[in-house]
């Protein structure tokens, strides 16, 4: 199990060819209080850098971009009723999708934790 980070401030914890995806604590802090999450459905396929959802905070709407090619296998339904969980525990309870990774080689373009920490400064 390894966790990767994208420049779009997502984390991706990979186990085999599946992964859990969410936004980083840093992203949640920047967004402000989240009031709505628009998620896609299980079975939806996506390409790297494609839009896979929208997170709305009290301030603004922010798109969620796919860090790799893949398919959504599970959606965290709890976020619909409790979008504020994204502020409380963005790197734990408030994961957004479980995905199937189509091309594992794309993980090489992502950052590890130390790299991400350096990236956000």
């Amino acid at each position: 199990m390894a966790t990767y980070y994208s420049e779009e401030h997502e984390w991706l914890t990979v186990e085999g060819d599946t992964a859990t995806l969410g936004i980083t604590k840093h992203a949640a802090e920047q967004l402000g209080e989240v009031v709505f999450v628009e998620q896609q459905e299980a079975g939806d396929e996506f390409e790297k850098d494609g839009e896979i959802g929208v997170i709305e905070s009290v301030k603004a709407a922010s798109e969620l971009y796919a860090p790799v090619d893949g398919e959504i296998v599970e959606v965290n339904e709890a976020l619909a009723d409790n979008p504020g969980a994204l502020n409380e525990d963005p790197e734990g309870e408030a994961w957004i999708y479980k995905i199937k990774i189509a091309d594992a080689s794309q993980l090489e373009d992502l950052m590890d934790e130390a790299g991400y920490k350096a990236f956000i400064g």
Binding site: G32, E33, V35, F36, E56, V58, P83
Partner: protein, 364 residues
């Protein structure tokens, strides 16, 4: 940006952990550590302090200032009594709104507060058209708003005279030995005050208000969600040079005599729209779901035709869901009418509602 301006409260914002952003050329706190939602609720339930020093404070001195203002505004300022404040707007020749403002009769002068972004327009406008009136923009005073059901306690503790004011009344009184102008009004839908304070005392007095257990600082983020829930227009979003007061559902702010007599820029259009109705009007719109409908979102009738556009939309913390305002064309806009909002290409159901979204709690 090297020429960004700071208000007299700047160092207090930094000290309080305010997140500073550029707003109309001013470095202003969008929120403090409490967060927009918490600050919003603080204001609805207790009291919140806002720095609004970026707004333009103007003093008008001369003979018959109120009468002369009537040539620029559709409000009855000639009959505005001493100690009273009145909301109004400058209109252009086409009946559009150039800016909205608060005018107070301070006895030996008139005190006007205009939007930060339009100071550069409004001051020359008044200088050009108010003949024989000395127009002085005040740079050396802060403007602080204390708003919320506990505002009277917070301000009254330091300034007993504030308790005697009613909504839209203004006076001069000492706070901590400093002469301030105190007006009972605001932009949140709650009871409260806007207080004009000499700049060198602004932090000291603000801190004295914040020392009250029921008062916390709030930023522009909460100010926007509070005014939206209260159904109050934001210049540049809901009203602008193209929108007439009647379209903007601001007919209530034009007094009867002025409606009948006219005599202000664009009076033809305003009177025509009063008689025949406007081509569009500003209404409250409440999305059924949880997705906020932001500025620019298209409004459709159930048949799928475009009938208007959202001009302000966000999450309303007191309402507990998304709230919006927008224009809909004539024939639409009755409270209860069902519409669709096109958010990211998808039709989201919503309903036209009467404004405001929350009851205004003014001290009449």
């Amino acid at each position: 940006m090297s020429d960004i301006k700071r208000t007299p409260l700047y160092s207090l914002h930094v000290e309080l952990g305010g997140k500073l952003v550029d707003f109309a050329g001013w470095e202003m706190p969008v929120q403090y550590p409490l967060g927009i939602m918490g600050e919003h609720k603080q204001c609805r339930e207790k009291a919140a302090l806002f720095d609004v020093s970026h707004m333009g404070q103007v003093i008008l001195r001369g003979e018959n200032v109120g009468e002369k203002l009537e040539a620029l505004c559709p409000q009855a300022y000639a009959t505005l009594k001493e100690g009273k404040a009145r909301y109004g707007f400058f209109t252009n020749a086409d009946g559009g709104i150039m800016d909205d403002l608060i005018v107070s009769n301070a006895g030996d002068h008139f005190f006007v507060v205009v939007n930060a972004a339009l100071r550069h327009q409004d001051i020359p406008h008044m200088r050009a058209h108010l003949e024989g009136v000395e127009v002085t923009e005040i740079f050396e005073r802060a403007l602080v708003a204390v708003q919320g059901p506990k505002a009277e306690d917070v301000v009254g503790e330091l300034c007993p005279a504030a308790r005697d004011l009613k909504f839209m009344e203004t006076t001069v009184a000492d706070i901590n030995g400093v002469e301030c102008r105190i007006s009972r009004l605001g932009y949140t839908g709650e009871d409260g005050y806007e207080i004009s304070i000499p700049e060198d005392k602004a932090i000291e007095i603000s801190k004295a208000f914040l020392a009250h257990e029921d008062c916390e600082p709030a930023g522009l983020g909460a100010r926007d969600s509070l005014r939206l829930e209260a159904g109050l227009c934001l210049y540049g979003n809901d009203i602008d040079q193209s929108t007439s007061p009647i379209e903007a559902s601001l007919g209530w702010a034009i007094q009867k005599r002025r409606k009948e007599e006219g005599g202000f820029p664009g009076a033809d259009r305003v009177q025509k729209e009063l008689a025949e109705g406007a081509a569009r009007k500003l209404v409250g719109i409440k999305p059924d779901g949880r997705a906020p409908a932001r500025q620019g979102v298209e409004v459709q009738c159930l048949e799928g035709n475009t009938i208007g556009q959202i001009t302000s939309g966000s999450f309303g913390p007191t309402v507990g869901g998304p709230v919006a305002m927008g224009y809909v064309s004539k024939g639409h806009g009755e409270p209860g009418e069902k519409v669709n909002l096109i958010i990211r290409g998808k039709a989201q159901p919503a309903q036209i509602v009467a404004l405001p979204f929350v009851t205004q709690n003014y001290k009449r």
